[in-house]
C-alpha cells in the first residue's frame, strides 16, 4: 500500500472541478491512494445571500479573515459543503470510474478539535470578543477510518465541518484540516490548489511566484503571504514539520493541476 496523496481544492470562484477530478481519477487509476478535501466558500456566500442570511466576515487583529459562523450559518455551511459541493465532486469522480465516498469531519469522527471559546474581531473599529462562534481547529484525525476505506478501494472526498470535543459541528479551515489529514496519514505529499499559482512575492502579480519555501525560514514566506494565503502557508509549514513529505501550493485553474503540482509547478514547501 503506497503512501497517500492529499489534495485540497479551494472553494473560491473560478475553480475547475472537472480538471481536478479528471487528474485525481488518473492518479487513482495508476493505483495511487488519494484523499480529496474541498471547500465551498464562494457557493456558501451565494446561498446565504439567497436565504436572507448574508455572510459576515470577521477580521482578527493580526489580519486573519474568516466567516462569522452562528448556528444558522452553520446550517447553510453544511448544506453547501456537505450537500451541494461534496456530492457534486463525488458524482464527477463516480462518472470517471473512481469509487469516491463523501465524508465530513463529523462522519466517523474523522476531524475533531476544540471549539474556540471566543474569537476576537474588529468590527467598525471596535475590538470585539464573540463567544457563540462555531469555529475551531482540527487536532485529531481518524486516520484508521481513512485507511480502512482506501484499503477497500474507496477514495475519500472530505470537507469541513469538524466535530468539536463537545460534539458540535465546527467550521474549520480546509487547508489546515487537509494538513492535519496529511500528517495523520504520513502522506507523501499535500497539494493545496486554489485560484492563484502559489505564494506570490508581490501579490497579485502572478509572475512573482515563489518556487520554494524552506520550512527553516518560514517567517519570510509568512511575511509575503496575505489573507487566506497566510493560513495556507501556516498549514503547509506545520505539515512538513510533522512529517509530510512535501506541500505544494498550486493553481487549480490549469489542466492536470495535481500532476503539475507534484511535478513542482507552484510553491513547494519542504
Amino acid at each position: 500500500m503506497g503512501q497517500a496523496i492529499v489534495v485540497k481544492v479551494g472553494g473560491s470562484a473560478g475553480i475547475d472541478y472537472d480538471a481536478v477530478c479528471a487528474d485525481v481519477a488518473g492518479l487513482v487509476a495508476e493505483g495511487r491512494r488519494v484523499v480529496l478535501v474541498h471547500g465551498g466558500s464562494a457557493e456558501t456566500n451565494r446561498v446565504a445571500e439567497a436565504l436572507g442570511h448574508p455572510p459576515q466576515f470577521v477580521t482578527s487583529e493580526s489580519g486573519f479573515q474568516s466567516r462569522r459562523t452562528d448556528r444558522q450559518t452553520m446550517e447553510i455551511f453544511t448544506m453547501v459543503y456537505c450537500g451541494k459541493m461534496n456530492k457534486m465532486i463525488v458524482g464527477k469522480l463516480q462518472a470517471l470510474g473512481v469509487n469516491a465516498i463523501g465524508l465530513s469531519g463529523l462522519d466517523g469522527r474523522l476531524l475533531r478539535g476544540p471549539r474556540k471559546k471566543a474569537i476576537r474581531a474588529v468590527i467598525d473599529g471596535k475590538r470585539i470578543s464573540i463567544r457563540d462562534d462555531l469555529s475551531g481547529k482540527v487536532e485529531k484525525v481518524n486516520s484508521d477510518l481513512l485507511t480502512l476505506l482506501m484499503d477497500a478501494g474507496y477514495t475519500p472526498v472530505m470537507s469541513p465541518p469538524a466535530l468539536s470535543y463537545e460534539n458540535e459541528a465546527i467550521n474549520v479551515d480546509g487547508d489546515r484540516a487537509a494538513a492535519a489529514i496529511a500528517q495523520a496519514l504520513a502522506a507523501e505529499a499535500l497539494v493545496l490548489l486554489s485560484n492563484v499559482p502559489g505564494l506570490l512575492r508581490d501579490f497579485p502579480d502572478e509572475s512573482s511566484l515563489v518556487p520554494r519555501v524552506d520550512v527553516a525560514r518560514a517567517e519570510e514566506a509568512m511575511a509575503l503571504a496575505q489573507g487566506r494565503m497566510k493560513v495556507k502557508v501556516l498549514g503547509a509549514v506545520e505539515a512538513v514539520q510533522a512529517g509530510v513529505g512535501r506541500v505544494v501550493l498550486a493553481d487549480a485553474r490549469v489542466e492536470q493541476p495535481v500532476r503539475k503540482a507534484l511535478a513542482g509547478h507552484g510553491t513547494t514547501v519542504q
Binding site: S62, F64, A118, I119, I128, S129, V172, D173, G174, R176
Partner: protein, 57 residues
C-alpha cells in the same frame, strides 16, 4: 457621568465609551489586563478570554 466600571483584576476604575457595546474588549488603564464587556445594562466586565489564531473557512 461617563460609563465606569471597576477592574476585576486590580480594582482600578475603567472608563468606557458612551457607545460601548456588549462583547467589546477594553484595557484596564492601570494593570493593562484585557476586559470584555459582558453586559451593557447593567454594565459588567470580565477578564477577556484567551484566543488563538486558527480560524474557520
Amino acid at each position: 457621568m461617563a460609563k465606569q466600571v471597576e477592574c476585576p483584576e486590580c480594582g482600578a476604575t475603567v472608563e468606557l465609551d458612551d457607545d460601548v457595546i456588549s462583547g467589546e474588549i477594553v484595557e484596564c488603564p492601570d494593570c493593562a489586563v484585557e476586559l470584555e464587556v459582558t453586559s451593557v445594562d447593567p454594565l459588567e466586565v470580565e477578564l477577556a478570554p484567551e484566543e488563538d489564531e486558527d480560524w474557520g473557512e
